[in-house]
Subunit: 376 residues, 2 copies
Amino acid sequence: MRNLEEFKILSQCNETRARATQFITQHGSVETPVFMPVGTLGTVKSVSPEELKAAGVQIILGNTYHLYLRPGLDVIELFSGLHKFMGWEGPILTDSGGFQIFSLAKLVTLSDEGVIFRSHIDGSKHLLSPEKTIDLQNRIGADLIMCLDNCLPYPISKDKAEEGVAMTTSWARRCKSVWEIQKKNALFGIVQGGAFNDLRKRSVDELAEIGFSGYAVGGLSVGEPKECLLDAAGYTLEQLPKDSPKYVMGVGAPEDILELVSLGADMFDCVLPTRNARNGSLFTSFGTINICNAAFKQDIQPLDPECNCYTCKNYSRAYLRHLYMAKELLAYRLNTIHNISYYSSLMKRIREAISNGVFLSFKKNFYDLRKCDNGL
Amino acid sequence: MRNLEEFKILSQCNETRARATQFITQHGSVETPVFMPVGTLGTVKSVSPEELKAAGVQIILGNTYHLYLRPGLDVIELFSGLHKFMGWEGPILTDSGGFQIFSLAKLVTLSDEGVIFRSHIDGSKHLLSPEKTIDLQNRIGADLIMCLDNCLPYPISKDKAEEGVAMTTSWARRCKSVWEIQKKNALFGIVQGGAFNDLRKRSVDELAEIGFSGYAVGGLSVGEPKECLLDAAGYTLEQLPKDSPKYVMGVGAPEDILELVSLGADMFDCVLPTRNARNGSLFTSFGTINICNAAFKQDIQPLDPECNCYTCKNYSRAYLRHLYMAKELLAYRLNTIHNISYYSSLMKRIREAISNGVFLSFKKNFYDLRKCDNGL
């Protein structure tokens, strides 16, 4: 997707702004709406690349900040990039590292050049700039890369939010300039502006003026109420150019995804399915269950009889509960395979519903089924 | 292997007592010398049944004590046994639970009936008797089961060792009696006697008189020096009936296995390959390496270029080191797959060397290669 032409809208919902699209990367095509599991350190925790593929995963996300610190770009470059290093042959999107620096790193200093921070691992001092994040992401060999943005907390004053937008635009321009030298991949701009629609609009306009392969809605999932998230995302998605993929960063409960798809979002990432799996919280067609529940002790059924994943085809709730209670390593893996498969299957059914013109009834049915959340 | 007739000696080394044999269980045949990975709680830690099979594993071991406490026999019986509960279709051997009671449980009291102990998990009180261990192992559905024995520490006085042998014989007789009602599987007797050859001889004779499908050398790997282990095992193996499988319990460094095979042992189990894997200690054709070693940071080679396992075929030392340093769950799994594959491959090459009449030169070559232990 070096060129915007490679992005195609396949189908558009009549009643909502939901759409099914497709774009092509150097490592294969991606059909949207799509969910990208998070593979922070060159591995989606506990599962193998083959298992990701079997679980229906199209594209994964890598974290530039984490990979830069460990194992370091010198190591990844020996393998010509992250794909060969970790054995994943599909597309990879990397973030800019900015979000992690503001949330994980210590002693963050903003300057004209970029952000100076200390590693959360060993306290060593580093600089991240717009130029540097593009260089790092190019060296990681990601297919889709992100501009450095100024991701601000919630709540925030309008003045601060305005400063953030200005800095984000200026950094985006610098990212685009250095990206243009190689055009190795597709570059996404990130919209900021907090909960202020006029600032969101300004951010969208300034980024669209610079021109990117795709656009992300940033600054969400930073502690704001759910309505606020949906309002800001909904407004921003509507303003964004229609002929590019729209990515809502870091949002990921199944219900949120369904709402954001209705508002026009194409791409998602979130640690929710993988982190929850490791905490024993599992997504099913009939609601979320906790595998620790004593009701599962003697339950010979698969986790979700509707699910075709490796875990549901081969193991029982009783076995999964036993593994989890005993803190067996296999528990984390089987749970993760299931949750990732649940997400892949949900996104596939969303795409099909949009294509078949039945998205609204799919959405209603989804909520009806998930309502029996406390059935177990 | 309900009947001893199903045991066949395929090949016998001329220079040593090494032999290649085969026996048949309800879940398939086993070729010896064989190594059985330990699957304490209904899972060989971190790996799936499919991965065990791909790693060349013929038979696994389950721990009755652990399975009795968690998930409990009521759960396992819902699946008609451990095979279906955990999804492993090959043969399973279970121990009697005696060893764990003496090493893990609290407040152990010996009585005529059996052993009273408190669970290491919740302190609950339980009785294990010869009759009960056979019942438990039958209910687990194991293919090969073990008598309850009195496993004593090292060093120990001759009087105590003699008492231990007497109790072991008496328990073995009771195990055999209750086993004969169903004859659901193959029952092994366990030789005790500490470091005293006359007691070992007495134990062998008394067990052989009762008659079992196979015989195990017990009471080893309890803190005795290596020579003492090899002396006691060597003497005992020589005394045991030749027309039955001989199992040396809980011993498992590659070099120990090679020596014990030379002394006539057919079967082995040990936590070494799996536990070491989780500690980053990996077996290779050129010695044991620790994956943390900084020398591997930029090493793009497979762990062991001679190895055909999933880990060595798909990943580099640099990636394995990165995963391990970052404490990623995939590290434990990839390391375990490799170590188990190493053991399977070692046992296969031992069997082939015996069959081809070249066991002694194989053994010499093995030591020569493993000498470069500190090469990395």
